[in-house]
């Protein structure tokens, strides 16, 4: 789960990381008053879970409360990467001497957290990192021992930080690491990390991603979830513990297992079709969950056909069939249904589906057949519309 900038900063500040003074505004008027209290010179920053806000007019510098009000009013009508902006962070401007980049992220291949830093932060950090990999400084962290100060001092040295800032840098980075561990974060990123003209470190922008598997023990973080930009379908999917991602095609997919779900999308592409979604019902799903999943897909206006690809191991095909049938009956849906079921109780399932009197249903033995049939159905729909 990703946190907003203002939430990330709040969390980091709890561990002792210095951040600029800032307040959240939901209206232009609020922004005016906050800016006024801060002397007029503020940044207005759209709080939206998308990257590259600066390139999308999501960050503006105001020099008067009126400007703050104006930029806020423009922003709140805007959206970034399709996400509406419901609030902005009104933040005091800081006198910057230098900008660094620093992050802690889980490294899959070593199975360790890794500290990453570059001497030049800002929005071009990735490009310059790719252009000159040598300037990217890394320290792998023993997950049992934790981050050692000597590792941080070494990074301070490689970043060419002024020597009298090294201990302060260690204190800062240790605070970031504590925040990372105690928040069960998979990423903590501060970009830019400023050194102010008074030789203080300050996190000008921050991003935290929390491990979804660990949210059960972080009620405070779980409560930070911003559902204001999620529609009902997304919330329904999450509540049902369905992994659901909308895509821009028209073939709805209902599959068990993330790997098989991706492989099914790949097969649709392979035969020239376009999936409307990724949906993994997980292992051992029962009829109710399948019903919810089916209803979610059928409720999407873009879906012209539903392709079901289930290989029953822990998942029982009869439960899948039952869920699908109930959903179709509930919604009285006429969306064509292409079913490919294999494994546990697949014969029973096919029998159930055949006897369910759904409007247009087709059961197939192989995924290839099912995909070709689905694409065929879509083309029919396209012609008739």
């Amino acid at each position: 789960m990703r946190l907003h900038e203002y939430q990330s900063k709040q969390r980091l500040a709890e561990f002792g990381v210095p951040v600029p003074h800032g307040e959240i505004a939901h209206t232009p008027k609020e922004a005016f008053y906050i800016a006024n209290r801060q002397g007029g010179h503020v940044f207005i920053k759209a709080q939206v879970l998308a990257g590259e806000r600066a390139r999308s007019e999501g960050i503006k510098q105001a020099h008067t409360p009126e400007e703050a009000e104006y930029y806020t009013s423009v922003m709140l009508k805007n959206n970034i990467q399709g996400l509406p902006i419901h609030k902005v962070l009104v933040e005091t401007t800081v006198n910057i001497a230098e900008e660094l980049y620093i992050a802690i992220v889980n490294d899959r291949s070593s199975g360790q957290p890794v500290l990453v830093a570059t001497a030049t932060g800002g929005m071009h950090v990735e490009e310059s990192a790719f252009a000159d990999p040598d300037q990217v400084i890394k320290a792998y962290i023993n997950p049992i021992i934790g981050l050692r100060s000597y590792q941080v001092m070494r990074i301070a040295s490689e970043l060419n930080l002024p020597r009298d800032l090294w201990r302060k840098f260690d204190t800062l980075v240790q605070a970031i690491y504590r925040c990372y561990v105690q928040s069960d974060a998979t990423l903590v990123e501060i970009n830019p990390l400023a050194i102010t003209k008074t030789q203080q470190f300050m996190a000008l922008d921050a991003k935290l991603i929390i491990d979804d598997n660990a949210l059960f023990r972080h009620a405070d973080l779980a409560a930070m979830r911003d559902t204001s930009t999620e529609d009902e379908t997304m919330i329904r999917a999450r509540n049902a513990k369905l992994s659901y991602i909308r895509l821009d095609g028209n073939i709805g997919c209902l599959v068990n297992g993330a790997g098989l779900a991706m492989a099914t999308m790949d097969a649709i592409h392979f035969y020239g079709g376009k999936p409307a979604n990724f949906l993994d019902i997980g292992g051992g799903a029962i009829a109710e969950k399948i019903q919810t999943a089916t209803e979610i897909i059928l409720s999407e206006p873009s879906v012209a056909v539903l392709l079901v690809n289930i290989f029953g191991g822990m998942t029982r095909c009869d439960e899948v069939a039952q869920g699908i049938i109930t959903a179709y009956r509930n919604l009285k849906s006429a969306v064509p249904l292409i079913v490919r079921l294999q494994g546990t109780k697949s014969n029973e399932a096919c029998e159930m589906l055949n006897q369910a009197n759904l409007l247009r249903i087709c059961t197939m033995n192989t995924l290839s057949q099912a995909v070709i049939q689905a694409i065929h159905e879509v083309q029919n729909v396209d012609f008739s519309s």
Partner: protein
């Protein structure tokens, strides 16, 4: 022969009294897996499917000589179960549990490396040796004894492929589900090495996914060390780029992790990579 486990492996089921543990213990026993005991703290003295339940791993080992453990414990206790098994001297631990926080997995993985226990998973379907034993949740109904070693990150996709292999008479030597989580106890390379050294395996099927670099490392291993033919499929070629891990993820992975890059690395290593997973059977049959 087989890899990792065999007919005589003495299996302990941690979390045997839970819903999943109990059900799959029944399934494994039906396949004549040599399950000798179960463990659930606080439930010692009970019996499940005729097997004794102990309060802790140490006493289960003392009483039954269990040497491999399979874990069906809920995520909040699963890591403790892994530590317990490792500390009690179990050298192969198969963790089926899904949803363990990743930081704890990093810690336990590090610890197990130190004390020399192997972990398969977590969040994996386990290991099945056709005709010998099933340790985990791979449906044994679909397998067939043969010479193809299968190693997979994903579960259902693996079953589907194994089912197709069996349907075409292409039996399997050992099937290993290593799991698809970011932190894996055992990687493709580990299993490939075992298959390379296994007299009963003459062909390997590798089922990978987008994300991580395990397939790239596998390609490097295959290129330099493997003599047996490998057929692969990488799921997620058409997947949209997922939530990016900030700049850091991109910088660290350095552009690795895409299906295309993995496919290229594997192809370059001489692996035949299927465009669509149903082609795997055809590719193997053609090569015979």
């Amino acid at each position: 022969m087989s890899i990792l486990v065999h007919k005589l492996t003495r299996v302990l089921v941690q979390g045997i009294t839970g819903r999943e543990g109990r059900f799959h213990t029944g399934q494994m026993l039906e396949y004549n897996t040599n399950i000798v005991a179960g463990v659930t703290p606080g439930r010692g003295g009970e019996w499940v499917h005729g097997k004794p339940v102990f309060d802790n791993v140490e006493s289960a080992i003392e009483a039954t000589g269990a040497d491999v453990s399979v874990i069906f414990v809920p995520p909040s206790y699963a890591v403790d179960a892994i530590y317990e098994a490792a500390d009690a001297g179990i050298k192969l631990i198969i963790c089926i549990t899904e949803g363990i926080p990743v930081f704890e997995m990093m810690q336990v993985r590090y610890y197990l490396k130190q004390i020399g226990s192997r972990l398969i998973g977590s969040n994996c379907p386990g290991i099945l040796v056709p005709g010998q034993c099933s340790i985990g949740i791979i449906p044994w109904q679909i397998v067939q004894k043969g010479k193809i070693g299968v190693v997979s990150k994903s579960g259902a996709l693996c079953y589907d492929v194994v089912n197709a292999l069996s349907a075409h008479g292409l039996g399997q030597s050992t099937i290993v589900g290593i799991g698809g989580d970011p932190i894996l106890g055992t990687n493709f390379v580990d299993v490939l090495e075992m298959f390379e050294n296994d007299a009963d395996t003459d062909h390997v099927v590798l089922l990978g996914e987008i994300g991580g670099s395990e397939e790239i490392e596998a390609a490097a291993y295959i290129k330099h060390y493997m003599t047996k033919p490998v057929t692969a499929f990488i799921a997620g070629k058409s997947a949209p780029q997922g939530t990016r891990m900030g700049h850091a993820g991109a910088i660290i992975e350095g552009g690795r992790g895409t299906a295309q890059e993995k496919i290229e690395a594997l192809s370059d290593a001489g692996v035949r990579v299927a465009d669509h997973y149903e082609q795997i059977v055809d590719i193997i049959r053609e090569s015979k």
